[in-house]
């Protein structure tokens, strides 16, 4: 409210109002002690919530996942996820699982690996499931852990450096066992009882489980990806039954995946040949995002040499998943290396940089920046949306 120098009447009115308010201002405030409830309840779950996985790289033993409401930018709460935590949301969104590592003396002592179960309506720990201490510790990409399509079995990638996958029964809250995946890394769910891992030779191992979480079958394909000439990154996204992988040079290599195995679908490029010659390529940590209903794929892109494949950018290209045409370009004010899109019909695009602390919230359809959330994290590496 601003007054001009001549608005004396307004000043007089304000003075009168202040005088009237004096008795109210002098009244003592009631005690807060004993006030119930002592904890704020979360608002109803929203598709515009985003779970910001913060690796806290300077202090990795203090991993965190922060919850924000994209519609308001409000910080709703957080959970602590120990060393190398990695969040996975249940299909109904009511549960957040996080595979975590702890040491009895913070950075030494007895190592304990657990899946911690969080209630997303209260952010309280409701269960803790112990596993053999074999979890891999890495950049928290999508395949570090995952859940079967029906939410029954949580799958976590092990690397010590032998490779395997731990299976956890989320109904019994119990560790089931380990599936050896020699030469193959990460977990990519492909149905209610199946997942696949990508192998160093470019082949794919499909694992099928029974209703107790034990292995029914394990199969290995011949090389599908050329991991020497133009490798696929370990940063694919899943839309329906298709996992969309992207190569260092910017070709989408889709895999249709289910319990029967994987089928390579036709590849398509993110860039024209001229753009590729000019050095355009995808980059970032969480560099792809998608929207199933709108049939859209979002990719962070930049110009740089082959070894810039982890670099973020200020450009997000949007592609039509049916025509493969680039239908939109979103320019960001700051470099971003992490993106995710909510699944609702009015989706939000969340973007962040691992080296910055802000979270940017865009209208995913118009590409307009709706808000910037400051102090969203220290090392933002991964986002959970639904």
């Amino acid at each position: 409210m601003r007054f001009s120098g001549s608005s004396l009447w307004c000043r007089a009115a304000l003075l009168a109002a202040m005088m009237l308010a004096v008795p109210m201002a002098q009244a003592e405030l009631p005690s807060d002690i004993g006030l119930k409830p002592e904890n704020v309840s979360l608002p109803p779950m929203s598709k515009h919530w985003v779970w910001v996985n913060d690796m806290v790289f300077p202090h990795m033993s203090d991993g965190q996942i922060h919850l924000f409401d994209g519609d308001t930018g409000r910080f709703l709460g957080m959970v602590s996820t120990g060393y190398s935590g990695h969040g996975v949301l249940s299909p109904d969104g009511k549960t957040l699982w996080s595979a975590e590592t702890y040491f009895s003396r913070h950075t030494r002592g007895t190592r304990t690996d657990v899946v911690t179960v969080y209630d997303t309506s209260s952010l309280k720990v409701t269960a803790e499931i112990s596993m053999p201490p074999n979890r891999g510790s890495s950049i928290p990409v999508v395949g570090v852990s995952g859940v079967t399509d029906d939410g029954r079995f949580l799958l976590t990638y092990n690397f010590n450096p032998a490779q395997s996958v731990s299976v956890v029964d989320t109904r019994a809250n119990a560790f089931v066992g380990e599936v050896e995946t020699p030469g193959c890394a990460l977990v990519h769910p492909s149905g209610p009882r199946s997942f696949f891992s990508v192998c160093a030779d470019g082949g794919v191992m499909t694992v099928v489980l029974d209703d107790t979480g034990h292995v029914v079958s394990q199969s290995h394909t011949d090389p599908i990806f050329d991991m020497t000439k133009d490798p696929v990154t370990e940063k694919p996204i899943r839309i329906g039954d298709v996992w969309y992988f992207v190569t260092f040079d910017g070709d989408i290599r889709p895999l249709h995946a289910n319990a029967k195995g994987v089928t390579a679908l036709p590849a398509w490029p993110l860039f024209s040949s001229e753009e590729k010659k000019a050095g355009w390529r995808p980059g970032g940590v969480l560099q792809l995002a998608g929207h199933a209903g709108h049939k859209r794929l979002y990719a962070i892109v930049h110009q740089g040499p082959r070894d810039s494949h982890k670099d973020g950018g200020r450009t997000i290209h949007v592609y039509d998943l049916e025509s493969h045409a680039r239908v939109q370009t979103i320019r960001t004010q700051h470099p971003v290396g992490v993106i995710a899109v909510s699944s609702d019909d009015h989706p939000l695009l969340f973007a962040a940089s691992p080296e910055a602390t802000d979270l940017y919230v865009y209208d995913a359809r118009s590409g307009k920046l709706r808000r910037t959330v400051t102090e969203a994290g220290t090392s933002i590496m991964y986002l959970n949306t639904r």
Binding site: M55, F57, P58, H59, M60, S61, Y83, S84, T101, F103, H106, T107, R108, R111, P133, G136, S137, S138, I139, V141, F159, N160, P161, A162, Q163, P182, G183, C184, A185, L186, V198, C199, A200, D201, M227, P231, V232, T233, E234, G283, V285, H302, Q303, G304, D307, S308, H309, K310, D311, G312, G313, R314, T315, H334, P335, G337, S353, P354, E355, S379
Partner: protein, 175 residues
């Protein structure tokens, strides 16, 4: 240098320097499958006694406490040279990982390519000094032996997981 960031997209390179981090080696199986063209030397390399080697010499040019040092072409982590150690040895009280990832770096002094083993030093929290991420020849996590996004403080009996810093040790001339 925010002004620089606004000039070119390439400036986002600095973003990746901090965004990828931990590197280690892959499982033995992965290494055997995926890195057949390279010597199988990185595995169990850390148990060797590290001899102090002079750097900043005509034969080994550059400052090991800088990201630009030639051996750092595929490193991802805090430089042990800034953490109380050297490019070949761990800081006091930490333990070298027995497994690791490798890169191939060009020595400008003799014009040869060398296989570099980036053994992590483990057992304390992060050093927090001289973070450096360069990704020449870096592979996805699917190919562990050349991926610097794993935490290679893994598999040691007494230094299992807590990561402190990374060394850059010459394995030999790449063939």
């Amino acid at each position: 240098m925010k002004w620089l960031d606004s000039i070119i997209e390439g400036s986002t390179r600095s973003l990746a320097r901090r965004s990828s981090r931990r590197g280690f080696l892959g499982g033995l199986g992965a290494l055997l499958v995926g890195a057949a063209a390279l010597p199988l030397l990185p595995v169990a390399r850390g148990a060797e006694r590290a001899a102090a080697k002079p750097a900043g010499t005509a034969a080994d040019p550059g400052d090991p406490a800088t990201c630009e040092y030639w051996r750092h072409c595929a490193i991802d982590g805090f430089l042990c040279s800034c953490c109380g150690g050297t490019q070949t040895s761990c800081p006091p009280g930490t333990e070298m990982s027995a497994v690791t990832w490798i890169g191939t770096c060009h020595n400008p002094a003799d014009g040869k390519d060398y296989v570099i083993s980036y053994n992590d030093c483990c057992g304390k929290s992060q050093c927090g000094r001289c973070f450096c991420n360069r990704n020449e020849g870096d592979s996805p996590l699917y190919q562990p032996g050349q991926s610097n996004d794993y935490n290679w403080c893994s598999g040691n009996s007494s230094a299992n997981i807590p990561y402190h810093c990374s060394t850059a040790r010459i394995v030999g001339v790449a063939e």
